[in-house]
Point group: C2
Chain length 696, copies 2
Amino acid sequence: MNSTLYKAWLQYAPIEDRELAAAYSRQLGTIVVDQQQSRVANAAVQELKHACQSMLGIVPNITSEALNSSHLEVRIHVGAAAAAEGAAEGITEAMDRGRADTQLDPEGFTLVHSGQGQQEKLVLIGGSGKGILYGVFHLLRLLASHQPLTGLKVADQPVNRLRMINQWDNVDGTVERGYSGQSIFYENGRFTDNLERVRDYARLLASVGMNAISINNVNVHEIETRFITAEYLPTVAKVADIFREYGITLYLSINFAAPLHIGGVSTSDPLNEEVRQWWKDAADEIYDHIPDFGGFLVKADSEHRPGPFAYGRDHADGANMLAEALEPHGGLVIWRCFVYNCMQDWRDRSTDRARAAYDHFTPLDGRFKDNVLLQIKNGPMDFQVREPVSPLFGSMKETNQVLEFQVAQEYTGQQRHVCYLVPQWKEVLDFDTYADGAGSEVKKITNGSLHGMKYSGIAAVSNIGNDENWTGHTLAQANLYGFGRLIWNPELSSEGIAEEWTRLTFGNDESVVKTVCRMLMQSWPIYESYTSPLGVGWMITPHTHYGPDVDGYEYSRWGTYHFADRDGMGVDRTMATGTGYTAQYFEPNAALYDSLEDCPDELLLFFHHVPYSHMLKSGKTVIQHIYDTHFEGAEAAAGLLDAWTSLEGKVDPERFAQVAQRLADQAEHAKHWRDVINTYFYRKSGVPDDSGRIIY
Amino acid sequence: MNSTLYKAWLQYAPIEDRELAAAYSRQLGTIVVDQQQSRVANAAVQELKHACQSMLGIVPNITSEALNSSHLEVRIHVGAAAAAEGAAEGITEAMDRGRADTQLDPEGFTLVHSGQGQQEKLVLIGGSGKGILYGVFHLLRLLASHQPLTGLKVADQPVNRLRMINQWDNVDGTVERGYSGQSIFYENGRFTDNLERVRDYARLLASVGMNAISINNVNVHEIETRFITAEYLPTVAKVADIFREYGITLYLSINFAAPLHIGGVSTSDPLNEEVRQWWKDAADEIYDHIPDFGGFLVKADSEHRPGPFAYGRDHADGANMLAEALEPHGGLVIWRCFVYNCMQDWRDRSTDRARAAYDHFTPLDGRFKDNVLLQIKNGPMDFQVREPVSPLFGSMKETNQVLEFQVAQEYTGQQRHVCYLVPQWKEVLDFDTYADGAGSEVKKITNGSLHGMKYSGIAAVSNIGNDENWTGHTLAQANLYGFGRLIWNPELSSEGIAEEWTRLTFGNDESVVKTVCRMLMQSWPIYESYTSPLGVGWMITPHTHYGPDVDGYEYSRWGTYHFADRDGMGVDRTMATGTGYTAQYFEPNAALYDSLEDCPDELLLFFHHVPYSHMLKSGKTVIQHIYDTHFEGAEAAAGLLDAWTSLEGKVDPERFAQVAQRLADQAEHAKHWRDVINTYFYRKSGVPDDSGRIIY
């Protein structure tokens, strides 16, 4: 637990530049802490102290007395006036320049350097303990990336209110779609004893600004159904307490059929009075143990999970019942929209899984209570390497929405391939829905501004487990880091986040920074290039979701088809001849996707069925595009290994070897992808490769 | 445990024909048992007594005194002279007409009726207790199928010496490739307490003449590796004792690396003296607990199981080491030939899994010790619905051989589809290898006669589990029954065995017998017709081996390909242009299979790659054959359900419903097979169906 693998981006590596270390030591040697402190702020100060010891070899003197000599002042102030009053010079300027409200947000902070010599000081003001926490981690990022503090004027606050991570951990110790070992929360049917690892996870999450976590799988099994009862709540409360110290609110995934299964009620009908009372009593019990409990995450009527449909009720009925129970306590219901017919007949081409969430939920707009949020996956299918953005975003103007990403690389290489997903997420956030005309980007829905929603935010499925390095592939740590940073502020660039993460993780050797950042930025396009082409998705081994199997889902009940035949491929989702899915978008997106001429190449096969000879905007035919990208992609994957190999000696041996092994596996597996996909389409189309490369 | 499902073919249903029952009661009311009795013979007499109670409502009087009145005499005699001496009239005639040696085989028996009135008697003479046991079950088959005993003159003995069942049961309670529930032997890492069920299994096996069983999976896991140690042997001995009572010898599957894993030896090298001594000591220990222990079943250097290759040794070295340890005790080593490269690169068309067993083992002919038997699967691949016979049969003239069938329907519908396999097995046994010229059928290799081998026989993977009806599908009981009967005497007809089984299982209503027999006889051709065509095999979902997935194994490491492209399909195994596999057969088989003109239709795609337009001997093109068989097969599967439905009221409701449900599932699933296969080939070939039926 003290390895470089484990410490991830909180390495706090010793700073060897003596001059810089001296300046930092002077500025941080004494920390004057405002008396009015919260537990979260204390945790922040302890983190700072620990980091100073590790990076500078000093133990800061922590005091509540104002000083004349160089020091760091840590204060909590509520509201703008208070922030200005008595604080160091430059705060107002920082707030003007920076991203803080004039009313300092409880999660916001200002961090300002002023004066020289004896007058030199650094002032961190938080809108609450959480502001202090985020400010400290901001400061530590600066230190770890060797940036001078002199002249610093920072004001910042998160853009998205709910910044959540979803654990798909099961109490048996497994993690659904987990690629990093077993759960850090559970083993053998019970909570683990190692709460120190949970605490370190809380530190990692807090360090990138996350403020909410659901700790059990959305598929809620037998024992987990009882987490909301007195039997398990004392233990859940212990976990909540750890996260609380890092400003993170705990949620539980619940089983909609809990009243029936564990409540002694003969139904789980959401309109049944006994059921409603059961949930109210359950909520009371929960809040007795966890006064700041976040609420429920719910997967209902999805993939065989129970829900309101069994009783002829709809999602609004179900969600509102739970919301009513949580409302007196200030809790939220996060209701997932991943609802579709998972028993589809592949022979039925009129049913389109991509349509399902929109068709299910838009008619319910306006019917959900204030404390219900709908959680919507970024795309209409399921975390493919390339999908259009879900048309649900912006389509429910009276409903709180949460965007769901997947940090776990379920369909993107399972942390055996490197695939830095921040650029993908950024495309989603920057996507203009046109819900209220131009400028209606998804990021304005997640931050609540577009339709002035009370609650909103972004959640993601976690990628961590009990592997020493948390994420299986050490480079996959960048996705957890990047998710937190991006949802804190979607205006950050993918490159900037990659660079931050690399410096914190591997240090400031410029060749390391440059190489790793380039590898990360190349990785998503590379992964896409050797896997399923042009937005068609899937072509992956059923169940495991690892490795190519072009027809694996073609004749299945999952609604995920490519319809490749000897002449062409792709899914016709147009209005005139297809499933009409394109009509779910606002104009001009609907027309764009509907048009064979205008549809972007990278999504062509998601929206259109075309012959292999169809000419792309790139000037290549579809079939030649498939061949080219797959040959190039496999070559580029090998290039990632070469790039990494050039860093030998510049990265500690343990992490060097770990990453090198994964990259070698990826390079080999990319060749398998290349050959399977190319062979499949060559056998089917009969079209030879223009360049005469080997296709089997 | 008293249901009709559970009792399988040992129903012993009351005989309602009063006249017949009276005759039987008279003939069996008193049983005169020879004083010189074995434990096996006693079990036989107890079985007879129990059956009389159940069928006739009488409790036979068992005595050792010779009588004058009607009775059954049960005697053991060794040798022909003894058999004749003092026995009833007609014994010599029975032995002349029947299948017994003039020297009565220890497993043989004669059953003769003679006299009238006071002189009437039935004499059962066994060559040993086992002969008595098989004679009693023969008698009980006559009773249950309501055949008169008057004038009976039967002499019989088994054709194959080793008649073995292999359990693929794991100590965790699972059964590898088990489709009938969990193991009856193990649960939760230990032997079950329910040895009564094991005893009933022994009765079922003995009733059809099986005389050997291996009780643990050939993939020997951690705990099972220790079955051969003092820790587990007392429990194994208890199980052996149960089987011993029914004339069945117990074997264990062993882990070749046991010395290394559990023996404290640093190697498992078969030429290492310490290792050899370890196995000798292990054998001594085993025989201390189980004096008549059968020996070891070994899967070595196959699918990642350890074996001699790790030490640069060959299969003969490995098998002979074990044989040497068992030899002083009379034990056998049954060494499986299922050895191939399971890490094949699908891109490499020169490697042919079908060749593997022959290529590995024929060079070793003559090197195996006398008490080693090579166990060879019926085909060169792995229990597909249609394969040629393995060319290993007859190719090792100085090596004991055992044929391996699979009663478990791994690739033939997993006991969710009905597939009566006796006709398939019979084709294998009747196949002429031409090893010593015409008339060198496989059945002459399994009975040891062709090359005068000391040991030989037939084994099969069991299909039973702890489902109430043993076999998942009640009609799958016919396969276990049929396997035993067929290997007792390969000259029995598939139809005859089906009729026997049906009468014993469902009674003697002629419409039931006729319908069920017809269903059974149709079932293998039907299953073949809607699954993979023309001998090409596979096209099945990887790992589970249930349901269609045409390309599921096409790009995998398992060596199981169909090479379908837009123009044609099949595997070229010819000498001139293919893998040369055909040359492993003796002439004229080699030439037959090698010739595109002569190769039988049903194996065409196993041996040749042909265009879809290739004209079959049937007068159809390959593609039209695919369409036709799949449309007809699905229709025929629905017809099975119709046929069964016509028996409502004639079969007890429990079994009627169980079978009806499975047949309904099969009919539905057959449509899925039909549509997936037809759609796949239509999309690939572009050739429309001549009859214009719906292809998706």
